[in-house]
Assembly symmetry: C2
Homo-oligomer: 147 residues x 2
DNA sequence: ATTAAAAAAGACATTGATGTCTTTTAATGG
DNA sequence: CCATTAAAAGACATCAATGTCTTTTTTAAT
């Protein structure tokens, strides 16, 4: 809910690379796509974007693949949202009425803005590293499961 | 955010009919679509669905159009969500990881489930009549503005 | 009955998100 | 330098949401 498949693929992709790095392994697109059950070429575009955004590194050629870099573990979930879904959507009125502004708030404005802010706060605070450090083995396993 | 254009059209359409009813007027598709700046034939499908769902009534032929019925003012927003977007989406993991269930919750499970429940509660409590009775003239005007 | 009006229904078009396939670029080992 | 490997890039396909157009059905007035 709320977020696109692309976001989910991005998150699971970077988590997979980070987990492999813990074991000292570099991973390739073929492995990631098949282990995560994600369309290979579609994932390729998303991985490429994350490399451009310096959330991940990559090298071409033999023994190449994707790997973590200095920023990977510190990358916030909101960054992934920005490069996959964008954040403008969160500023639109939830009832599709006019832009809620002074003297013209929609009836659900305050409740919904709180929900939105709480969600964006959560996504702004949480990093890839957080997810990996604090969570159970069950969660770790879950990234390779179809959503 | 969260909800489709169809939901917004449905809500604004039923509000428009209910407002016209307050003035003793029955309204036709052409008027609704042009006043709300909504694609006429697309809105037609949505209005038809609301008639089937008994949220509104309609009559064909000369002097026909859409009108409120016994259930209109009491219809809850969640009903509009169900017939436009569906509610299954709200049961999927926000991170697109596996279904969060016992011993396998995703890291944002509890925060996100609270946001979801708050939102659905709000949509389940609020009726079309609520929006009309309690709100300012500014809100009433806002339904005819492009979202 | 006939005609006109308006919703209902259905066929088709457009667009954006998602998914697939092929070609190009860069890196490595020999 | 050459062959191989893997990411990068780009062209094309599919699907669902959205939007447009035409035909059918129902109703009301004459």
């Amino acid at each position: 809910m709320f977020l696109s498949k692309s976001f989910g693929y991005a998150l699971r992709g970077v988590l997979y690379v980070a987990l492999a790095d813990k074991d000292g392994r570099k991973v390739q697109l073929d492995e990631i796509a098949s282990r995560l059950s994600v369309p290979r070429h579609f994932l390729a575009k998303i991985m490429k974007t994350m490399v451009k955004e310096e959330i991940l590194s990559s090298t071409k050629g033999p023994y190449g693949g994707f790997s973590v870099n200095a920023g990977t573990l510190n990358a916030k979930l909101i960054h992934l949202v920005k490069i996959t879904d964008g954040v403008e959507q969160f500023n639109t009125c939830v009832l599709s009425l006019r832009q809620c502004k002074s003297k013209n708030f929609c009836p659900l404005h305050f409740q919904m803005m709180k929900l939105r802010d709480d969600m964006l706060d959560e996504f702004s605070k949480r990093s890839i590293g957080d997810l990996l450090e604090k969570e159970s083995p069950d969660f770790i396993k879950s990234i390779s499961t179809i959503a």
